[in-house]
Symmetry: C2
DNA sequence: CGTGCATGTTACTTGCGGTAACAGCAGTCT
DNA sequence: AGACTGCTGTTACCGCAAGTAACATGCACG
Protein backbone atom coordinates (compact mmCIF):
# COMPACT_ATOMS: atom_id res chain seq x y z
CA UNK A 1 0.00 0.00 0.00
CA UNK A 2 1.22 3.44 -0.74
CA UNK A 3 -0.79 4.98 2.02
CA UNK A 4 2.03 5.04 4.55
CA UNK A 5 4.30 6.24 1.82
CA UNK A 6 2.00 9.07 0.94
CA UNK A 7 1.55 9.97 4.53
CA UNK A 8 5.28 10.28 4.90
CA UNK A 9 5.48 12.57 1.94
CA UNK A 10 2.57 14.60 3.14
CA UNK A 11 4.16 14.99 6.52
CA UNK A 12 7.32 16.18 4.91
CA UNK A 13 5.42 18.58 2.68
CA UNK A 14 3.56 19.96 5.64
CA UNK A 15 6.77 20.51 7.53
CA UNK A 16 8.26 22.28 4.54
CA UNK A 17 5.16 24.39 4.22
CA UNK A 18 5.42 25.38 7.82
CA UNK A 19 9.08 26.29 7.44
CA UNK A 20 8.24 28.41 4.43
CA UNK A 21 5.49 30.14 6.32
CA UNK A 22 7.85 30.90 9.16
CA UNK A 23 10.39 32.35 6.77
CA UNK A 24 7.68 34.45 5.17
CA UNK A 25 6.68 35.53 8.62
CA UNK A 26 10.16 36.77 9.40
CA UNK A 27 10.32 38.74 6.17
CA UNK A 28 6.91 40.30 6.63
CA UNK A 29 7.84 41.18 10.15
CA UNK A 30 10.93 42.92 8.85
CA UNK A 31 9.83 44.43 5.54
CA UNK A 32 6.15 44.95 6.09
CA UNK A 33 3.30 43.81 3.89
CA UNK A 34 5.00 44.70 0.61
CA UNK A 35 7.61 41.98 1.06
CA UNK A 36 8.40 40.47 -2.32
CA UNK A 37 8.19 36.83 -3.21
CA UNK A 38 11.88 36.90 -4.07
CA UNK A 39 12.76 38.19 -0.65
CA UNK A 40 10.65 35.56 1.05
CA UNK A 41 12.15 32.81 -1.07
CA UNK A 42 15.64 34.06 -0.31
CA UNK A 43 14.90 34.13 3.41
CA UNK A 44 13.72 30.55 3.17
CA UNK A 45 16.92 29.64 1.33
CA UNK A 46 15.16 28.65 -1.88
CA UNK A 47 13.77 30.27 -5.02
CA UNK A 48 10.40 31.53 -6.14
CA UNK A 49 8.84 28.61 -8.02
CA UNK A 50 8.80 26.51 -4.88
CA UNK A 51 6.75 29.10 -3.11
CA UNK A 52 4.35 29.09 -6.02
CA UNK A 53 4.10 25.32 -5.97
CA UNK A 54 3.20 25.38 -2.32
CA UNK A 55 0.86 28.35 -2.23
CA UNK A 56 -0.35 28.89 -5.76
CA UNK A 57 0.19 32.60 -5.89
CA UNK A 58 1.03 35.48 -3.63
CA UNK A 59 -2.55 35.69 -2.48
CA UNK A 60 -2.40 32.07 -1.41
CA UNK A 61 0.74 32.59 0.61
CA UNK A 62 -0.65 35.68 2.22
CA UNK A 63 -3.91 33.94 2.98
CA UNK A 64 -2.08 31.07 4.63
CA UNK A 65 0.07 33.49 6.59
CA UNK A 66 -2.93 35.53 7.62
CA UNK A 67 -4.80 32.44 8.72
CA UNK A 68 -2.11 31.57 11.25
CA UNK A 69 -2.08 34.93 12.91
CA UNK A 70 -5.80 35.36 12.68
CA UNK A 71 -6.36 32.04 14.39
CA UNK A 72 -3.91 32.88 17.12
CA UNK A 73 -5.40 36.28 17.79
CA UNK A 74 -8.93 34.97 17.71
CA UNK A 75 -8.01 32.36 20.29
CA UNK A 76 -6.76 35.04 22.65
CA UNK A 77 -9.85 37.11 22.08
CA UNK A 78 -12.15 34.17 22.73
CA UNK A 79 -10.35 33.52 25.98
CA UNK A 80 -10.83 37.11 27.09
CA UNK A 81 -14.42 37.04 25.97
CA UNK A 82 -15.17 33.83 27.84
CA UNK A 83 -13.58 34.78 31.14
CA UNK A 84 -15.88 34.38 34.13
CA UNK A 85 -16.34 38.02 35.02
CA UNK A 86 -18.50 41.05 34.87
CA UNK A 87 -19.60 42.05 31.39
CA UNK A 88 -17.75 45.31 31.50
CA UNK A 89 -14.61 43.59 32.66
CA UNK A 90 -14.87 41.07 29.87
CA UNK A 91 -15.27 43.80 27.29
CA UNK A 92 -12.30 45.67 28.66
CA UNK A 93 -10.21 42.50 28.73
CA UNK A 94 -11.07 41.82 25.11
CA UNK A 95 -10.19 45.33 24.01
CA UNK A 96 -6.97 45.15 25.94
CA UNK A 97 -6.04 41.80 24.45
CA UNK A 98 -6.50 43.11 20.95
CA UNK A 99 -4.60 46.30 21.60
CA UNK A 100 -1.76 44.46 23.30
CA UNK A 101 -1.46 42.23 20.26
CA UNK A 102 -1.22 45.03 17.75
CA UNK A 103 1.11 46.91 20.03
CA UNK A 104 3.44 43.97 20.33
CA UNK A 105 3.73 43.30 16.59
CA UNK A 106 2.60 46.23 14.49
CA UNK A 107 4.06 44.88 11.28
CA UNK A 108 2.09 41.69 11.50
CA UNK A 109 -0.97 43.64 12.36
CA UNK A 110 -0.55 45.95 9.38
CA UNK A 111 -0.05 42.98 7.16
CA UNK A 112 -3.26 41.39 8.35
CA UNK A 113 -5.25 44.51 7.61
CA UNK A 114 -3.97 44.97 4.06
CA UNK A 115 -4.01 41.65 2.28
CA UNK A 116 -2.40 43.10 -0.86
CA UNK A 117 -5.37 43.11 -3.15
CA UNK A 118 -4.66 41.64 -6.57
CA UNK A 119 -2.05 43.81 -8.20
CA UNK A 120 -0.43 41.36 -10.59
CA UNK A 121 -1.50 40.52 -14.16
CA UNK A 122 -3.76 37.51 -13.81
CA UNK A 123 -6.38 37.66 -11.15
CA UNK A 124 -4.41 37.24 -7.99
CA UNK A 125 -7.27 35.45 -6.28
CA UNK A 126 -8.48 38.21 -4.03
CA UNK A 127 -11.98 39.34 -4.68
CA UNK A 128 -12.00 43.10 -4.89
CA UNK A 129 -15.59 43.12 -3.77
CA UNK A 130 -14.80 41.96 -0.27
CA UNK A 131 -11.57 43.83 0.01
CA UNK A 132 -11.62 44.40 3.71
CA UNK A 133 -9.24 42.33 5.71
CA UNK A 134 -10.58 38.88 6.47
CA UNK A 135 -9.43 39.31 10.03
CA UNK A 136 -11.89 42.10 10.61
CA UNK A 137 -14.72 40.08 9.15
CA UNK A 138 -13.90 37.04 11.18
CA UNK A 139 -13.60 39.02 14.37
CA UNK A 140 -16.87 40.74 13.63
CA UNK A 141 -18.72 37.50 13.06
CA UNK A 142 -17.16 35.92 16.09
CA UNK A 143 -18.12 38.78 18.33
CA UNK A 144 -21.59 38.84 16.85
CA UNK A 145 -22.03 35.22 17.74
CA UNK A 146 -20.93 35.75 21.31
CA UNK A 147 -23.22 38.73 21.68
CA UNK A 148 -26.14 36.87 20.28
CA UNK A 149 -25.51 33.86 22.50
CA UNK A 150 -25.12 35.79 25.69
CA UNK A 151 -27.51 38.68 25.43
CA UNK A 152 -31.25 38.77 25.27
CA UNK A 153 -31.99 41.34 22.60
CA UNK A 154 -35.57 40.51 21.76
CA UNK A 155 -36.88 40.16 18.20
CA UNK A 156 -34.39 40.96 15.48
CA UNK A 157 -31.66 40.29 17.98
CA UNK A 158 -29.56 38.23 15.65
CA UNK A 159 -29.21 40.97 13.11
CA UNK A 160 -28.61 43.51 15.79
CA UNK A 161 -25.85 41.35 17.17
CA UNK A 162 -24.14 41.13 13.82
CA UNK A 163 -24.28 44.87 13.28
CA UNK A 164 -22.86 45.40 16.71
CA UNK A 165 -20.20 42.76 16.25
CA UNK A 166 -18.83 44.37 13.14
CA UNK A 167 -19.31 47.85 14.51
CA UNK A 168 -17.46 47.17 17.72
CA UNK A 169 -14.63 45.45 15.92
CA UNK A 170 -14.33 48.39 13.60
CA UNK A 171 -14.28 50.79 16.50
CA UNK A 172 -11.56 48.77 18.16
CA UNK A 173 -9.57 48.57 14.97
CA UNK A 174 -9.75 52.23 13.99
CA UNK A 175 -9.06 53.48 17.47
CA UNK A 176 -6.18 51.05 17.79
CA UNK A 177 -4.72 52.11 14.48
CA UNK A 178 -4.87 55.74 15.39
CA UNK A 179 -3.49 55.05 18.83
CA UNK A 180 -0.57 53.06 17.44
CA UNK A 181 0.38 55.98 15.24
CA UNK A 182 0.10 58.77 17.77
CA UNK A 183 0.35 57.14 21.16
CA UNK A 184 -1.65 59.88 22.81
CA UNK A 185 -2.31 57.90 25.96
CA UNK A 186 -1.67 54.64 27.71
CA UNK A 187 -3.33 51.43 26.64
CA UNK A 188 -5.37 51.26 29.80
CA UNK A 189 -6.75 54.73 29.24
CA UNK A 190 -7.69 53.87 25.70
CA UNK A 191 -9.46 50.75 26.86
CA UNK A 192 -11.40 52.68 29.46
CA UNK A 193 -12.40 55.36 26.99
CA UNK A 194 -13.68 52.87 24.47
CA UNK A 195 -15.60 50.93 27.06
CA UNK A 196 -17.11 54.19 28.25
CA UNK A 197 -18.23 54.86 24.72
CA UNK A 198 -19.89 51.47 24.50
CA UNK A 199 -21.51 52.08 27.83
CA UNK A 200 -23.36 55.06 26.43
CA UNK A 201 -21.38 57.88 27.92
CA UNK A 202 -21.62 59.76 24.65
CA UNK A 203 -25.39 59.82 24.84
CA UNK A 204 -25.39 60.63 28.53
CA UNK A 205 -22.90 63.50 28.45
CA UNK A 206 -24.22 66.95 29.06
CA UNK A 207 -24.25 69.70 26.45
CA UNK A 208 -21.61 72.35 26.68
CA UNK A 209 -22.90 75.75 27.68
CA UNK A 210 -20.28 78.11 26.27
CA UNK A 211 -21.62 78.28 22.70
CA UNK A 212 -22.18 82.00 22.08
CA UNK A 213 -25.32 82.59 20.10
CA UNK A 214 -25.42 79.12 18.66
CA UNK B 1 6.10 92.08 -16.30
CA UNK B 2 5.65 88.40 -16.67
CA UNK B 3 3.22 88.14 -13.78
CA UNK B 4 0.08 88.27 -15.89
CA UNK B 5 1.73 85.86 -18.25
CA UNK B 6 2.49 83.45 -15.51
CA UNK B 7 -0.98 83.72 -14.11
CA UNK B 8 -2.40 82.75 -17.45
CA UNK B 9 -0.16 79.76 -17.61
CA UNK B 10 -0.97 78.78 -14.09
CA UNK B 11 -4.66 79.02 -14.80
CA UNK B 12 -4.22 76.80 -17.79
CA UNK B 13 -2.16 74.33 -15.79
CA UNK B 14 -4.78 74.20 -13.08
CA UNK B 15 -7.49 73.55 -15.61
CA UNK B 16 -5.42 70.79 -17.14
CA UNK B 17 -4.82 69.32 -13.73
CA UNK B 18 -8.52 69.30 -13.05
CA UNK B 19 -9.23 67.61 -16.35
CA UNK B 20 -6.66 64.97 -15.59
CA UNK B 21 -8.15 64.37 -12.18
CA UNK B 22 -11.57 63.97 -13.70
CA UNK B 23 -10.24 61.47 -16.20
CA UNK B 24 -8.52 59.59 -13.40
CA UNK B 25 -11.78 59.67 -11.54
CA UNK B 26 -13.63 58.03 -14.39
CA UNK B 27 -11.03 55.28 -14.65
CA UNK B 28 -10.96 54.58 -10.95
CA UNK B 29 -14.72 54.51 -10.94
CA UNK B 30 -14.61 51.91 -13.68
CA UNK B 31 -11.54 49.82 -12.85
CA UNK B 32 -11.27 50.21 -9.13
CA UNK B 33 -8.23 51.28 -7.15
CA UNK B 34 -5.75 49.20 -9.18
CA UNK B 35 -6.21 51.37 -12.25
CA UNK B 36 -2.89 51.75 -14.03
CA UNK B 37 -1.23 55.02 -14.91
CA UNK B 38 -1.32 54.02 -18.55
CA UNK B 39 -5.07 53.54 -18.42
CA UNK B 40 -5.59 56.88 -16.74
CA UNK B 41 -3.36 58.65 -19.24
CA UNK B 42 -5.21 56.99 -22.11
CA UNK B 43 -8.55 58.04 -20.68
CA UNK B 44 -7.26 61.59 -20.48
CA UNK B 45 -6.09 61.36 -24.09
CA UNK B 46 -2.42 61.78 -23.26
CA UNK B 47 0.54 59.68 -22.13
CA UNK B 48 2.15 58.84 -18.86
CA UNK B 49 4.95 61.38 -18.46
CA UNK B 50 2.46 64.22 -18.34
CA UNK B 51 0.73 62.62 -15.42
CA UNK B 52 4.06 62.32 -13.69
CA UNK B 53 4.89 65.94 -14.39
CA UNK B 54 1.64 67.02 -12.82
CA UNK B 55 1.46 64.72 -9.84
CA UNK B 56 4.97 63.49 -9.19
CA UNK B 57 4.14 59.85 -8.82
CA UNK B 58 1.18 57.56 -8.47
CA UNK B 59 0.90 58.35 -4.82
CA UNK B 60 0.63 62.02 -5.64
CA UNK B 61 -2.14 61.48 -8.13
CA UNK B 62 -4.00 59.27 -5.73
CA UNK B 63 -3.58 61.74 -2.93
CA UNK B 64 -4.96 64.54 -5.08
CA UNK B 65 -7.83 62.37 -6.15
CA UNK B 66 -8.55 61.30 -2.60
CA UNK B 67 -8.47 64.87 -1.39
CA UNK B 68 -11.33 65.84 -3.70
CA UNK B 69 -13.63 63.08 -2.56
CA UNK B 70 -12.61 63.37 1.02
CA UNK B 71 -13.38 67.06 1.03
CA UNK B 72 -16.75 66.48 -0.57
CA UNK B 73 -17.74 63.76 1.84
CA UNK B 74 -16.54 65.72 4.83
CA UNK B 75 -18.66 68.67 3.77
CA UNK B 76 -21.76 66.49 3.72
CA UNK B 77 -20.89 65.04 7.08
CA UNK B 78 -20.33 68.43 8.63
CA UNK B 79 -23.73 69.53 7.36
CA UNK B 80 -25.41 66.54 8.95
CA UNK B 81 -23.45 67.04 12.14
CA UNK B 82 -24.36 70.71 12.35
CA UNK B 83 -28.08 70.35 11.71
CA UNK B 84 -30.26 71.99 14.36
CA UNK B 85 -31.76 68.90 15.91
CA UNK B 86 -31.72 66.44 18.73
CA UNK B 87 -28.35 64.81 19.38
CA UNK B 88 -29.62 61.38 18.50
CA UNK B 89 -31.12 62.68 15.29
CA UNK B 90 -27.89 64.37 14.35
CA UNK B 91 -25.92 61.20 14.97
CA UNK B 92 -28.34 59.19 12.88
CA UNK B 93 -28.25 61.75 10.10
CA UNK B 94 -24.47 61.63 10.06
CA UNK B 95 -24.38 57.85 9.93
CA UNK B 96 -26.96 57.86 7.18
CA UNK B 97 -25.08 60.43 5.14
CA UNK B 98 -21.92 58.37 5.28
CA UNK B 99 -23.68 55.15 4.42
CA UNK B 100 -25.59 56.74 1.58
CA UNK B 101 -22.31 58.00 0.13
CA UNK B 102 -20.59 54.65 0.18
CA UNK B 103 -23.71 52.98 -1.13
CA UNK B 104 -23.94 55.35 -4.06
CA UNK B 105 -20.34 54.97 -5.20
CA UNK B 106 -18.68 51.88 -3.77
CA UNK B 107 -15.73 52.04 -6.14
CA UNK B 108 -14.79 55.51 -5.02
CA UNK B 109 -15.26 54.50 -1.46
CA UNK B 110 -13.02 51.45 -1.84
CA UNK B 111 -10.42 53.58 -3.49
CA UNK B 112 -10.43 56.01 -0.63
CA UNK B 113 -9.96 53.28 1.93
CA UNK B 114 -7.10 51.54 0.14
CA UNK B 115 -4.68 54.14 -1.16
CA UNK B 116 -2.61 51.53 -3.03
CA UNK B 117 0.27 51.24 -0.63
CA UNK B 118 3.62 51.66 -2.33
CA UNK B 119 4.08 48.71 -4.69
CA UNK B 120 6.53 50.15 -7.18
CA UNK B 121 10.34 50.24 -6.97
CA UNK B 122 11.28 53.52 -5.32
CA UNK B 123 9.29 54.60 -2.34
CA UNK B 124 5.96 55.50 -3.80
CA UNK B 125 5.45 58.28 -1.28
CA UNK B 126 3.06 56.58 1.07
CA UNK B 127 4.34 56.15 4.54
CA UNK B 128 3.78 52.59 5.55
CA UNK B 129 3.68 53.63 9.15
CA UNK B 130 0.41 55.48 8.81
CA UNK B 131 -1.06 53.14 6.28
CA UNK B 132 -4.65 53.62 7.19
CA UNK B 133 -6.68 55.66 4.78
CA UNK B 134 -6.32 59.37 5.32
CA UNK B 135 -10.06 59.70 5.00
CA UNK B 136 -10.60 57.72 8.17
CA UNK B 137 -8.11 59.83 10.05
CA UNK B 138 -9.58 63.07 8.87
CA UNK B 139 -13.11 61.98 9.69
CA UNK B 140 -11.95 60.84 13.10
CA UNK B 141 -10.29 64.13 13.89
CA UNK B 142 -13.22 66.09 12.57
CA UNK B 143 -15.70 64.18 14.65
CA UNK B 144 -13.45 64.46 17.68
CA UNK B 145 -13.44 68.21 17.33
CA UNK B 146 -17.20 68.40 17.10
CA UNK B 147 -17.60 66.17 20.11
CA UNK B 148 -15.17 68.17 22.12
CA UNK B 149 -16.80 71.43 21.15
CA UNK B 150 -20.32 70.36 21.91
CA UNK B 151 -20.09 68.07 24.86
CA UNK B 152 -19.04 68.72 28.39
CA UNK B 153 -16.86 65.75 29.26
CA UNK B 154 -15.04 67.06 32.29
CA UNK B 155 -11.26 66.75 32.76
CA UNK B 156 -9.47 64.77 30.09
CA UNK B 157 -12.36 65.48 27.81
CA UNK B 158 -10.24 66.37 24.85
CA UNK B 159 -8.49 63.07 24.77
CA UNK B 160 -11.71 61.24 25.36
CA UNK B 161 -13.26 63.08 22.43
CA UNK B 162 -10.44 62.03 20.13
CA UNK B 163 -10.67 58.41 21.13
CA UNK B 164 -14.39 58.52 20.58
CA UNK B 165 -14.07 60.31 17.28
CA UNK B 166 -11.78 57.71 15.82
CA UNK B 167 -13.69 54.89 17.45
CA UNK B 168 -17.04 55.98 16.11
CA UNK B 169 -15.67 56.57 12.65
CA UNK B 170 -14.15 53.10 12.70
CA UNK B 171 -17.42 51.60 13.83
CA UNK B 172 -19.23 53.35 11.03
CA UNK B 173 -16.67 52.31 8.49
CA UNK B 174 -16.46 48.64 9.42
CA UNK B 175 -20.19 48.23 9.76
CA UNK B 176 -20.68 50.00 6.46
CA UNK B 177 -18.13 47.85 4.73
CA UNK B 178 -19.71 44.67 5.98
CA UNK B 179 -23.17 45.94 5.14
CA UNK B 180 -22.15 46.85 1.60
CA UNK B 181 -20.92 43.32 1.05
CA UNK B 182 -23.83 41.41 2.54
CA UNK B 183 -26.75 43.79 2.50
CA UNK B 184 -28.39 42.07 5.43
CA UNK B 185 -30.80 44.88 6.11
CA UNK B 186 -31.93 48.29 4.99
CA UNK B 187 -29.84 51.36 5.51
CA UNK B 188 -32.29 52.78 8.00
CA UNK B 189 -32.14 49.65 10.11
CA UNK B 190 -28.39 49.72 10.12
CA UNK B 191 -28.39 53.34 11.20
CA UNK B 192 -30.78 52.60 14.03
CA UNK B 193 -28.77 49.63 15.20
CA UNK B 194 -25.54 51.59 15.29
CA UNK B 195 -27.13 54.48 17.09
CA UNK B 196 -28.54 52.04 19.59
CA UNK B 197 -25.07 50.71 20.16
CA UNK B 198 -23.75 54.20 20.81
CA UNK B 199 -26.62 54.81 23.14
CA UNK B 200 -25.47 52.03 25.40
CA UNK B 201 -27.97 49.36 24.56
CA UNK B 202 -25.21 46.79 24.67
CA UNK B 203 -24.47 47.56 28.27
CA UNK B 204 -28.13 47.74 29.17
CA UNK B 205 -29.26 44.51 27.56
CA UNK B 206 -30.24 41.65 29.82
CA UNK B 207 -28.33 38.41 30.09
CA UNK B 208 -29.74 35.43 28.34
CA UNK B 209 -31.05 32.75 30.65
CA UNK B 210 -30.74 29.57 28.57
CA UNK B 211 -27.11 28.77 29.32
CA UNK B 212 -27.16 25.28 30.83
CA UNK B 213 -24.64 24.86 33.59
CA UNK B 214 -22.49 27.75 32.45
C1' DC C 1 15.20 85.68 -35.29
C1' DG C 2 16.80 83.08 -31.33
C1' DT C 3 15.78 82.10 -26.31
C1' DG C 4 12.91 80.40 -22.69
C1' DC C 5 9.30 77.36 -21.33
C1' DA C 6 5.42 74.47 -21.04
C1' DT C 7 3.39 70.54 -23.51
C1' DG C 8 3.62 66.45 -25.65
C1' DT C 9 5.80 62.27 -27.56
C1' DT C 10 8.59 57.62 -28.05
C1' DA C 11 11.54 54.47 -26.10
C1' DC C 12 13.77 52.81 -22.28
C1' DT C 13 15.06 50.79 -17.45
C1' DT C 14 13.91 48.44 -13.33
C1' DG C 15 11.53 45.40 -10.56
C1' DC C 16 7.88 42.24 -9.45
C1' DG C 17 4.41 38.46 -10.09
C1' DG C 18 4.08 34.33 -12.37
C1' DT C 19 5.52 30.40 -15.50
C1' DA C 20 7.97 27.18 -18.52
C1' DA C 21 11.49 23.77 -18.97
C1' DC C 22 14.87 21.20 -17.26
C1' DA C 23 17.82 18.48 -13.38
C1' DG C 24 18.33 15.36 -9.29
C1' DC C 25 16.68 12.07 -6.06
C1' DA C 26 13.64 9.24 -3.40
C1' DG C 27 10.77 4.96 -3.66
C1' DT C 28 7.69 1.65 -6.50
C1' DC C 29 6.17 -1.57 -10.02
C1' DT C 30 7.33 -5.24 -13.37
C1' DA D 1 18.20 -3.97 -12.97
C1' DG D 2 15.52 -0.57 -15.36
C1' DA D 3 11.38 2.28 -16.54
C1' DC D 4 7.87 5.16 -14.01
C1' DT D 5 6.18 8.41 -10.61
C1' DG D 6 6.37 12.28 -7.79
C1' DC D 7 8.64 15.51 -5.13
C1' DT D 8 12.25 19.19 -4.63
C1' DG D 9 14.99 22.37 -6.61
C1' DT D 10 17.12 25.20 -10.32
C1' DT D 11 17.77 28.86 -14.36
C1' DA D 12 15.76 31.54 -17.62
C1' DC D 13 12.13 33.67 -19.33
C1' DC D 14 7.33 36.48 -20.24
C1' DG D 15 4.20 40.24 -19.30
C1' DC D 16 3.11 44.22 -17.02
C1' DA D 17 3.25 48.44 -14.47
C1' DA D 18 5.91 52.37 -12.32
C1' DG D 19 8.92 55.74 -13.35
C1' DT D 20 12.53 58.30 -16.37
C1' DA D 21 15.48 60.23 -20.22
C1' DA D 22 15.68 62.33 -24.43
C1' DC D 23 13.78 64.23 -28.09
C1' DA D 24 10.02 67.18 -30.63
C1' DT D 25 6.69 71.03 -30.99
C1' DG D 26 3.90 75.41 -30.25
C1' DC D 27 4.09 79.99 -28.36
C1' DA D 28 5.31 84.19 -25.96
C1' DC D 29 9.05 87.55 -25.20
C1' DG D 30 13.57 90.35 -26.00
Amino acid sequence: MDTTQRTDQQRSADRRRRELLEAADRVVLRDGPQASMNAIAAEAGITKPILYRHFGDKGGLYAALAMRHTDALLDSLRAALDAPADRRERVEATLDTYLAAIEARPQVYRFLMHPAEGSGPGDSGFDVGKHSAPLLRRMGEELAQVIEERLDLGPGGQQLARVWGHGIVGMMHAAGDWWLGERPCSRAELVRSLADLLWGRLAAAGDRVGGPGF
